[in-house]
């Protein structure tokens, strides 16, 4: 089943499932992460993207399925396991200790030691300086606590962690959410730089424009399943948005044609002009962030169903 021949696959997840209570958050998902490639993971809130990714980074456990790193099955049951397998994660909240400086955060949990128990502050500081210089030339507050830094600088530290420890797979959860326009540009350069080195990047984002800019391949999730896989150059934003919105919800397919039309009008209102700068901070992601797809899907059917429900109401007294 698995093609061993494809050596560019760094990590593959096979048949991953995970339920929380009665809800199947992830349902038999396969995912391949290839070297030098940016994989865009798209979907509503609650589609299962974050759960899938937190399984890969060892924060959440899985019910079924296996994870292969370079073809070898590995057990990832803690963040430490994931790191040892070369998988680094940049969390949306960045998971930095705000009261510590950049070097302390970069090496947190993997401190350089002297005599077994002492911190080798000087080496850590120097290596932090080196790696940060590559990533963000404007970074200079090496000794101030990271809580006082800007979103971009804080993210630089999280990325520096991945670069310094030579991660082969880098997972980024909503990386551009806390960045300004110039920081976003810097970030995009950095991603290209990393993929040139052969790092596989997984990008989770609500911002479809960012994903189209950066990703080579797209995977769309809905209701815990993968509903679409495509190469970015073969996909259109409309197509992807449609998948995100219509996704796996079954009742929609009955009125698929109407719903699709509705979705298209919605899409055209969301993406009025191809303005690359305005688009970054425009609102296309806002309706997508809405957990409830009802406004898009039920709108066309409501007018139909209203007389029907009125009829049932009027029928009820006569039956009883």
């Amino acid at each position: 089943m698995k093609s061993v021949a494809d050596e560019s696959i760094l990590v593959s997840m096979r048949g991953i499932s995970r339920a929380f209570g009665g809800i199947q958050a992830i349902d038999g998902v396969d995912l391949d992460i290839r070297a030098g490639e940016v994989l865009g993971l798209l979907g509503h809130n609650g589609a299962g993207k974050s759960t899938l990714i937190s399984i890969l980074s060892g924060v959440t456990s899985r019910d079924t399925g296996e994870i292969l790193v370079r073809g070898e099955p590995v057990s990832i049951s803690s963040p430490r396991d994931a790191r040892q397998a070369g998988i680094e994660t940049i969390y949306q909240n960045l998971a930095l200790a705000d009261n510590l400086d950049a070097a302390s955060n970069l090496f947190l949990g993997r401190e350089k030691r002297r005599a077994g128990i002492f911190r080798d502050t000087r080496t850590m500081r120097r290596e932090t300086e080196e790696v940060l210089r590559q990533i963000n030339p404007r970074f200079q507050n090496l000794s101030s606590p990271v809580g006082s830094l800007s979103g971009g600088q804080r993210q630089s530290i999280a990325i520096a962690r991945a670069v310094h420890f030579k991660a082969s797979v880098l997972i980024m959860d909503e990386p551009t959410a806390a960045l300004g326009p110039s920081e976003t540009a810097l970030f995009k350069d950095l991603i290209k730089h990393l993929t040139q080195r052969g790092v596989g990047v997984v990008l989770i984002s609500h911002d479809i424009h960012d994903v189209f800019d950066l990703a080579d391949r797209l995977v769309v999730m809905a209701d815990g399943r993968v509903v679409g896989r495509m190469r970015t150059e073969e996909a259109t934003k409309e197509q992807v948005l449609e998948m995100i919105i219509l996704g796996g919800s079954k009742e929609v397919t009955i009125d698929a044609q109407e719903a699709r039309e509705e979705a298209h009008t919605l899409i055209s209102t969301l993406m009025p002009a191809p303005d690359p700068h305005g688009a970054l901070n425009a609102n296309p992601n806002e309706p997508m962030m809405n957990d409830d797809p009802a406004p898009f899907t039920t709108a066309p059917t409501r007018s139909e169903s209203e007389p029907r429900s009125a009829a049932t109401k009027s029928r009820r007294p006569s039956t009883s």
Binding site: S78, A97, D98, N141
Partner: protein
Amino acid sequence: MTQVQSAPPSLPAPPSLPAPPSLPTRVARFVLGGNKALLFAVLFAAVLSLLSQYFFTVGNIASLLDQIVSLMVVALAYTFVLGAGELDLSIGGMVALTGLVMAKCMTDFNLPVPVAIAIGIALGVACGVLNATLISKFGLPSFIVTLATNAVFVGLVYIVSNLVPVTNLPEGFLAIQQTRIGPFSLPVLLLVPIAAVLIIVAKRTVFGQHVVALGGNRDAVRKAGNSIERVRLGVFCLTGAACGVAAVFLTARSASAQIAAGSDLLLLVIAAVVIGGTPLLGGKTLVVGTIFGCLTLGMIANGLNLIGMNANFQIITQGILILLALLVDVQSTRLLTRIDKNAMLRSRGVQQ
């Protein structure tokens, strides 16, 4: 945020680079952000030496240090507990229990003094293990768990002692307090290496770093693949051991194991650590600050004695002074944040 964005977007300078802070800002930052406990200690010392000519005598200083030696031992270790964002309310119970068991070992079981001391300190560590395990296993807040274990420890003291203090301790044990080098007793002198080791642990070791990280962001520590449980075990065991050591000093000083030993320790320890600059919610371990925090508290008690205040009023005054010191500490931190923020806004070229 909106103010910042209104600055021209072409401005490439990072926020804190231009225009070094003005002189008043720097002075304010030094006073407010520095070691406030040192400031308090100097202040109290100055006031007391004006009020009483006996204050700055060697004898008085030595007796002041004798009074705070147990407080200091526990407070130094407690700096790590608070620094990690935890609370340990069971230190009173641990001091009483370890002191009592130590004394019983020497009187009832005739064990040699060093063995009894080792048993006492080991018992303290065991209490710490119990606290940390309960907190980690059941995911309960540390203050609830330690409040409960404190009740258990105190209950054990009542049962073991049958409400009678243990006296008739061997000479070898009492010698701990009576041995003096110059004007200072052995416990006071032992404080020096203890404090030195803990300062190094806080500043230089990986463990010290993890304690501070835990107090700063628990989630970051977990996602960095570190064991929160191990760090927690470390700080609670350290405190347990410190309670054992404090019990040695306290028992030797009063020549008996008292049932109520350590009952007034909790407030003083937390006050000393917080006055020393370690925040109640963690994220910093200022061991040196704790030393001056203890000195400040010691001077409050000592000074009230020297000026001959009624003992009952002393307790009230002590409480009020501790409260004042904490208030000044918190308010100055707030002020410092505001000064820093204003300085940052100004350096970004934004009108406040």
